[in-house]
């Protein structure tokens, strides 16, 4: 059976069910909406967090920047590309896929580090959620809502995660070389910040850039570049 058949069959849904579902919400059913409950809990937690700020700072400091006991919000970062080789002078289109949860993410930052290559524009790139609440089941990255700032940053509005983001890479090395470009993604929200890095290994030879493979990269958190 196809999704088309199932969808057309759903069109025959009886009106009473449609009406019932349209009018149903937890408040009407006498239940306290979970979102509101979570807001109250979050507000209480925020007060507690503020009160224990010094302790939290000390704990964080002792862990050398590692933020522990947080749920995994940023699940993965992956990179794909179309061809094996490109001219060294051309912009190489790659696609970055970011898989993430939806716990109040309000900002996403993408930046790269490499001796031989870099993101062709907008490095670092910032993406902001309007309401700080992504839903991984809906995703829309609004193009072309980019804003280019005077300092070179590019910001865009993201409504939901996960999403795919087309990026451009370009070679900056003058001579033949090989190495990797590390593309990092950092998600931030109230009280948390998580990041992941994907490394793309390349080789520049005779005016051609060869893309070899990617792997997840675990940066040294004490390294200021990350």
């Amino acid at each position: 059976m196809t999704t088309g058949t199932f969808s057309d069959a759903l069109d025959k849904m009886e009106e009473r069910f449609i009406e019932e579902a349209s009018g149903y919400n937890a408040e009407k059913a006498g239940k306290k909406p979970r979102a509101r409950m979570i807001s109250l809990i979050a507000a209480a937690c925020a007060v507690l967090l503020l009160a224990s700020g010094a302790v939290a700072w000390a704990v964080k400091k002792s862990e050398a920047g590692t933020v522990t006991s947080q749920p995994d919000i940023l699940y993965f970062v992956a990179l794909t590309w179309e061809r094996e080789s490109y001219d060294a002078g051309e912009t190489i289109p790659v696609t970055l896929r970011v898989g993430a949860g939806d716990i109040g993410v309000s900002e996403l930052k993408i930046w790269s580090y490499s001796d031989g290559m870099r993101l062709s524009s907008g490095d670092p790139m910032y993406l902001y959620a309007e309401n700080g609440d992504f839903d991984p089941h809906d995703f829309t990255l609004r193009y072309p809502d980019y804003k280019v700032h005077k300092d070179g940053r590019i910001t865009a509005k993201v409504e939901e995660l996960p999403f795919t983001l087309p990026l451009g890479l370009c070679a900056i090395a003058q001579n033949d070389c090989s190495g990797s470009i590390n593309i990092s993604v950092k998600l931030s929200g109230v009280g948390f910040s998580q990041r992941k890095t994907v490394s793309l290994f390349y080789e520049i030879k005779d005016g051609r850039v060869f893309l070899l493979r990617t792997e997840e990269y675990f940066p040294d958190l004490n390294d200021e570049k990350f």
Binding site: M1, T2, G4, D8, A9, Y24, A26, P33, R34, D138
Partner: protein
């Protein structure tokens, strides 16, 4: 004004060919229609266009129609308009033509949103209606919200006041029962 009164007065305005009917529809049902289209299309501009098409469909179909439930009537029109747009987008290769919620059922549905045979759709529709009717109220609401309206799970959790884990376990249980029924009735091999 009570919802029934509002519905009746809007339908009456359509029957009187008073353009105020569209303005009132937009005012009172605009958000509802937009959310249906938006949930299916996942793209604001297309959803906005579908809203306008839906209002035009209301104008062209009432009269002769005199819906018992204007809410259900406009919801159905909005859904069909959005799905038509989704199919058009697929034909023009302007994006994936898939209903996100039906990914839940990918275990037994193949990904092809083409228009189905009307007779088959009607028969299957009757079976789905009897299945929905057999569900407990909260499951029924979840089923309609998820598969009819293509509502994201997160939104359903908020509207039903349940944690996400509960919603997924309800979806899983509904899926199993639906699969068994479809197998029993010969829709699945």
């Amino acid at each position: 004004m009570a919802p029934e009164e509002l519905e009746n007065s809007i339908v009456r305005l359509y029957w009187e060919r008073d353009e105020q009917a569209i303005a009132l529809t937009e005012k009172h049902y605009g958000g509802f229609v937009f959310s249906i289209c938006r949930n299916i299309l996942r793209e604001r501009r297309d959803a906005e266009e579908c809203c306008s098409t839906t209002y035009l469909k209301m104008w062209n179909s009432i009269p002769p129609e005199r819906p018992n439930s204007f809410t259900a009537f406009i919801a159905r029109a909005a859904r069909m308009t959005a799905i038509d747009r989704l199919r058009e987008r697929t034909r023009q290769k302007r994006g994936p033509g898939r209903l996100e919620s039906l990914d839940d059922l990918s275990e037994f549905l193949t990904d092809d949103l083409s228009v189905a045979d009307e007779v088959e759709a009607r028969e299957l529709g009757a079976l789905i209606n009897s299945f929905v009717s057999s569900l407990e109220k909260r499951e029924r609401v979840l089923f309609v919200k998820r598969y009819y309206f293509n509502t994201p799970v997160k939104t359903i959790c908020r509207e039903l006041g349940v944690p996400r884990s509960t919603a997924y376990s309800m979806i899983s249980s509904i899926k199993e029962r639906l699969k068994k029924l479809l197998e029993k009735e010969g829709y699945l091999q």
